[in-house]
Symmetry: C2
Subunit: 669 residues, 2 copies
């Protein structure tokens, strides 16, 4: 089936004043990535402007000299004094556009930036843009299995695997185009739960196919990474242990890394989920997480490989009766004592939030406390807990809040954005990773609007100063064109969507009121008596998990003044109130509403918001391609129906438990 | 792997005074079933007594004459004046045992009865037993799929199917031996949800294998039945409808039945789940259940085939907010108006209870109200909702209660047992069916003690006057031998088990507090906000479904005085109180306990009962084969652990909701 090109589905512009620039491209470098930049500029020119571009190779062109040339056109300049690390400068003067960068990746990103200006109909004269990527690593984590299924995948099957083979197809390249166009520079193709044949990806068996895949990525400046099975020495090597301190295990990994990197020289490294939810890891042998990670890092070091080690380690067989164990503090408790003990080529990948990818959680307390350890922020755009790409839930506003969070680790430059970019503690390998939301569906993301999360994650990781609104507008105009009514309505839907989802689902940061296993749809007690550490502790009088000093003490894992802020109920941010404290239903919020009335009100409001979203979308009939319009309309109607189910179940649950009437007398069952 | 023969695992008796009878068997008939009876007697004699029996064929032997013979031994007498319908008489006089019956099935059942006497060490002199089966049909329904899986199967894979083939193996015959030994005379081998290749079982493709299977069954007096797909004319015949009134559909079925019965002359007929839980049926075409059943019955009639039509028809997409729709009354509402409208070779199979196979439900109101329709009582020994063969739950006491229930349809002879046996309304094809609990596990039923339900169902269907204790004792002595301590402990465990399960799971007939889909383990709200019509309606003040006149009116589907009994809270049997009424937690039961205190107490008691059961079993170490002892011990320890989980979740749920303290101050979470 034909697939769309999402935000790279260029539309022919009827008239565009800047089209003359695109008649000639002057190009200096001859490397692959520069070639890609040229290809993309030509393709964009042809598809949007109907122009066949002349490409002029100009070996003599050098940074300063090039500026003196009088020919109009676009100049791709590799300038060793130019912006580094994928950064670029775009300037326009006298009919000439210069894209300058120290590395060819910068030229590629600059070219995509320039094309976005065209897509959005912006004038190019007088352009002067300097962009330096905020985060060195901007990664996608695919939870794809080798049988073609995707764990927590909501948009079809894997783009990388089918029937235990690695696929390299035309669409692979189009995936790379989309990813690179928003600045992604690293992709883990296989599930962190390394199951089935995936353990074998590191051995020769799949080397040829992986090399071809890696080459496709490399043309777009993307590094290939693999998830790795910590027990591989046993499963593949026939050893009787995977103990990271065992000499034979170290030797096995050293030999294996040699083979793997020899087969795949462009491999970036490995992502590891160890000692988590049944995965093997160093704890099995009484070793620390650092011993496990460092052993792998030493083996990968000679080849420039990095080890990305997930901090998602917790007790997943908790007794629900136990009120002292706290999953939220688990990563902190395991990893904080190890700060500074990791090799230089290890990065800790810290999931946000500290529990899992709920609609609302506090920021992980590891951010700010870890000072001597490379860090990646892990978010999820797959919407596992936020509507599974059947509900609209534009997550960039959530990520913005996380990035902007003040950890108080320093006087200034103390936000999460500062830390993961490397600014706070001078780290060099760090950044952001997102669990990806793509699959084989023709629109890539199941819900057409979910593509805004893919686009948005990349753009935000590249430029964390962008606002969620700006990103939404960019995505919308690139995807649907520049008609004001469309941009206005779609951006409004996107910006309403996360708050709406938060309103009609579990209240005030408590999370988890979902159907076990599949994580879709309401089930208030679904995880209440289970083993996953995910409780709400609702009773007749109140609800919430006591994580203050009187409870699990989790509040004290934060630096001051955050620790005190979270500890004191009156000061605690209300959107997180039930995450941190057990609160009576009769407690008065700052709005002067009782907690229970807030629950009722917000659930009615959330559904009203979805009704408004549906109306906004319906107003776009005829202005959006029919197929897309109908597809989104169907999903939004399902969302509306489903938001009512959430509202009624949540409200009924709390009414039946508290027996406090809704002040407005609305129907509760 | 070697499998056991369950209660036919004959043990060598060190000394048995009746062994001389077994030296010679005089046999008159030459048919297959009589041959089976001889085989079983010889096998029993060899295995229990170490005797090789001499079989003397004696064609001249006739009913009266035979009695005059002076040779000692066992005489199998086909006597046209003897007990009919599978009945038999066993008499002993002067060293001769006569087993007399009008049909050879009676001789087979009499032989198994005689062997049971030996197994249990009873003396045979002076024996005088006349047994007439209470129920003409004594059936097992297997929910086996052709891929080898079993829906709601808890003891391995199918005994009849593997990888879409029909299996006929040594074990098939042993299955038939076990079933026939307790009087089973009909077996439906495939799932009522006819999925995958099973629709094709009625066509030629599988005829040869099915014929071989049917022949194995026939030797043991068992008729083979198949579950049928109502949409077969579309799926197999390529028709565009399955409308029972469409001429082409009728013609298709007539042709198909001709082929099927021609291929399988011994086929008994078909079981049909139509218009239920997504299965196709007559409702699709605006036809009644009678029109659907009769169409099939007419097609099967020329070949003596019967159509067993399940009454398990209800709305499985109910809105949980809707308090008027009532799944419990659904079968009554659909089928009661059709009484007398079914063909003579149709039997309605009525599930007990009216909701599903919960630990406690009232009897279906169709019993007693339907007067002019053949009826089968459907029970389930697979323990789908009663511990899934991981918990001990001996269900014969429950079935006894159902059979003994007075419907008040007549002055006397009004019990369910009277109705389904045919006594009340002179029906000829009627009886009992059980959803089976067997599979490929070496002990047939996963839990060794679950075999008591298989054994017990057959025995009870054959002889409904037996008490649950008697059946338990029979099974126990046949299985484990006659040592008093073993029999005492095992029977006590069995007899405690259903009440214990009822105590520690959902209270007072409300049911359903289980994990959705798999139906194992507690989840109080698991089905509360779902579409299956299975609610408890618990709130802060009380719990229960109002099914009186003020509610769904279900109480009024019963004949008087039952209708009034169930209607009035004060008179309503307390074990069903929450099934029929919404009751405040503070309501005082006849024990003078409040409802909530009863919930707390019974849940603590249930766990204590299981503790006692575990202790009883542990006392049998050395007296039970080690392998069996350990297997049961492991399961009972899991049951104990799991009963605590039930107790704590149920008690915590109700405490958190009601905020009423346990009077005894025990730990509730």
């Amino acid at each position: 089936m034909e697939y769309s090109m999402a935000w790279l589905s260029y539309h022919r512009l009827p008239f565009y004043e800047g089209q003359e620039y695109f008649r000639k491209i002057y190009v200096q470098g001859e490397d692959e990535i520069t070639g890609t930049a040229v290809y993309e500029l030509c393709r964009g020119a042809e598809e949007m402007l109907g122009i066949r571009t002349e490409v002029i190779k100009w070996p003599e062109l050098s940074g300063q000299d090039g500026k003196d040339r009088q020919d109009k056109g676009i100049y791709l300049l590799t300038d060793s004094n130019g912006p580094v690390g994928g950064g670029y400068r775009i300037t326009e003067e006298n009919g000439k556009i210069h894209i300058a960068a120290a590395e060819s990746e910068g030229l590629l990103y600059g070219s995509f930036d320039l094309l976005r200006q065209v897509q959005r109909g912006f004038p190019l004269n007088g352009l002067n843009r300097l962009k330096l990527p905020d985060n060195p690593l901007r990664m996608l984590n695919h939870w794809d299995n080798m049988d073609g299924s995707i764990e927590r995948g909501y948009s079809g099957n894997s783009l990388f695997f089918r029937s235990n083979t690695v696929m390299v197809e035309e669409r692979t390249r189009d995936y790379a185009r989309l990813a690179a166009s928003v600045g992604i520079n690293g992709v883990v193709i296989n599930n962190v739960n390394v199951i089935g044949k995936a353990t074998r990806l590191i051995i020769g068996e799949y080397a040829e196919a992986l090399k071809r895949l890696g080459d496709v990525f490399a043309k777009y400046g993307i590094r290939l990474y693999l998830s790795l099975n910590f027990a591989a020495p046993m499963e593949l090597g026939g050893l009787d242990t995977a103990d990271p301190e065992a000499e034979k295990v170290r030797a096995w990994w050293q030999e294996q890394m040699k083979e793997t990197f020899c087969n795949l020289p462009s491999l970036g490294g490995f992502l590891v989920k160890a000692d988590s939810e049944g995965r093997p890891g160093p704890f099995t042998y009484g070793r620390t997480q650092a011993q496990g990670a460092n052993m792998l890092a030493e083996a990968a070091k000679p080849y420039g490989g990095i080890i990305i080690w997930r901090c998602f380690v917790y007790n997943c067989t908790q007794d629900w009766r136990d009120r002292k164990t706290d999953r939220a503090r688990s990563a902190y408790d395991y990893f904080m004592p190890l700060d500074g003990k990791f090799e230089k080529n290890v990065i800790l990948q810290i999931k946000n939030g500290p529990m899992d990818f709920q609609v609302r959680e506090p920021v992980s307390p590891l951010f700010g406390s870890l000072r001597n350890t490379n860090q990646l922020l892990e978010v999820q755009i797959a919407q596992e807990y936020t509507g599974q790409q059947r509900h609209v839930c534009y997550l960039i506003p959530q990520f913005k809040e996380v990035l902007g969070f003040h950890t108080y680790c320093r006087e200034e430059g103390d936000t999460v954005a500062d830390i993961i970019s490397g600014r706070s503690f001078s780290h060099r390998i760090c950044g952001m990773a997102a669990v990806a939301n793509t699959g084989s569906d023709t629109n890539w993301t199941g819900h057409d609007l979910a593509a805004a999360n893919w686009f948005g994650f990349g753009r935000l990781a590249f430029d964390s100063s962008l606002s969620a609104e700006e990103i939404a507008r960019e995505w919308c105009e690139c995807t649907f064109g520049t008609e004001t009514q469309v941009a206005h309505a779609v951006c409004k839907i996107l910006m309403m969507s996360w708050p709406a989802y938060e309103k009609y689902t579990s209240p005030l940061g408590i999370g988890w009121m979902v159907t076990p296993n599949n994580h879709y749809g309401p089930n208030v007690d679904g995880y209440e008596y289970d083993r996953w550490g995910t409780y709400h502790r609702a009773d007749h009088l109140g609800i919430g998990v006591e994580r203050g000093k009187a409870g699990t003490g989790y509040t004290q894992t934060y630096l001051e003044p955050n620790a005190s802020l979270y500890e004191e109920i009156e000061k605690c941010p209300e959107e997180l109130l039930l995450f941190f404290h057990h609160i009576p239903y009769t407690y008065r919020l700052k709005s002067n509403k009782t907690l229970i009335q807030h629950i009722y009100d917000s659930h009615f409001e959330g559904v009203e918001d979805v009704e408004e979203m549906v109306t906004l979308w319906q107003g776009l009939k005829g202005k959006i391609p029919d197929e897309v319009f109908e597809r989104v309309k169907t999903r939004m109607e399902q969302q509306l129906e489903h938001s009512r189910e959430w509202r009624d179940q949540i409200n009924s649950y709390f009414y039946r438990k508290s027996f406090i009437l809704d002040e407005k007398g609305r129907t509760i069952y």
